[in-house]
Subunit: 224 residues, 2 copies
């Protein structure tokens, strides 16, 4: 299901959006201010964000920059202001679309569909095969010796980030940011625990991993 994060401090707008989005099968989170928005974005990983610019605690541009530091999730900006400079600035700091209030719900939903469609990866035939196990990114499934391996949500998330960067080094900060959110960049203990769990479930010899490799002091790397 597509998850939408609505960021707006006006309850009636949030309510209208929630009703309309729910009715069309979207999963809706809502945040009344920038701080909550950044937090929810990190924890819930929405597929698209609808962001009102007139927030009580932060400038809209700051929210966008905070998000763009670690995610490329589509951001659709809502604003009451028609001023050209604001549109330009907002788009240039990383927003994907800019809709002025009052807006037509149909149009907003169409722009939402367009944003999600663009962000959708172009038909991955995403089954990565190693000597020891297989990872199906689309089906979110891991197989080993013919049987499925059960992963917890966090285990899967860590594995997914590594597999999507096959062969490349993923720094500890990057991994923590993508899985736990930007405020967890120092919790390197999590990685030790979860990499160990993944190795125990996937590697033939967990004490000498061949695919989930540690680069001491730098990060981790998935090798096929």
């Amino acid at each position: 299901m597509t998850r939408v994060l609505v960021v707006d401090d006006e309850p009636q707008i949030v309510r209208a959006l929630r009703i309309n989005l729910r009715a069309r099968g979207y999963d809706v989170d809502a945040a009344p201010d920038g701080r909550t928005a950044l937090d929810l974005a990190a924890r819930r990983h929405p597929d698209v964000i609808i962001l009102d610019l007139g927030l009580p605690d932060m400038e809209g541009a700051e929210v966008i920059k905070g998000l763009r530091g670690w995610t490329s999730v589509p951001i659709i900006v809502l604003s009451a202001r028609h001023a050209s400079e604001e549109k330009v600035e907002t788009l240039d700091v990383g927003a994907d679309d800019y809709v002025t209030k009052p807006f037509g719900m149909d149009e907003l939903l169409a722009r939402l569909r367009a944003a999600v469609r663009r962000a959708a990866p172009p038909e991955e035939d995403a089954v990565i095969v190693t000597d020891d196990f297989t990872v199906d990114l689309a089906a979110k499934k891991v197989g080993r010796d013919g049987a499925d391996v059960r992963l917890t949500p966090t285990e899967w998330h860590v594995l997914e980030v590594l597999v999507r960067n096959t062969g490349r080094l993923v720094s500890q900060q990057q991994l923590l940011r993508e899985v736990w959110g930007p405020s967890y960049e120092n919790e390197t203990g999590y990685l030790r625990v979860y990499l160990a769990q993944l190795r125990r479930k996937l590697e033939k010899d967990p004490s000498r991993p061949r695919h989930l490799i540690t680069e001491p002091g730098m990060g981790y790397r998935f090798e096929r």
Copy 2:
């Protein structure tokens, strides 16, 4: 250079766009009707298309469908009509953005930048190859004789700075500043140790280095 295809049957609009886009370093093609647009898109492979809906020969939706059959190039639609149904339909057949006329040039250019940015490929790997070893900056990987070479974080950091300045002299101060920070500019002993380690790991004859070269009294240089 970014190539833009402008599709519009009004010469003054084409002219205004051409001037503004050229001035900002875009390469501009123009088509006055849908047939020409499809033809030019196929032959010239623009990076983004600006498409007016009021074309003499085809419906705008038909042009978009014709393009979407084989390309995912971003399409920004221009239209004089504010009607919500038209926006919805246009976006749903595959347009990326919808701008109503009269439009502000600044805003259009900002939306163009946003569209191009989204479509940009996620940065390619640049692999530097020498006779003796290879350096993959994106993957943070060094290879030699087919096998990976393990570098410590500091070793990698030193090598990275040198490789990013291939052929150029990097002063000791600059190297120390970039790797250890501004307050270590006098610790030239560090460099001796780490250059020696890198040579031992990478050079065929570490006592006569061919790629990690000392410029006595000045600094170091990486030569392919």
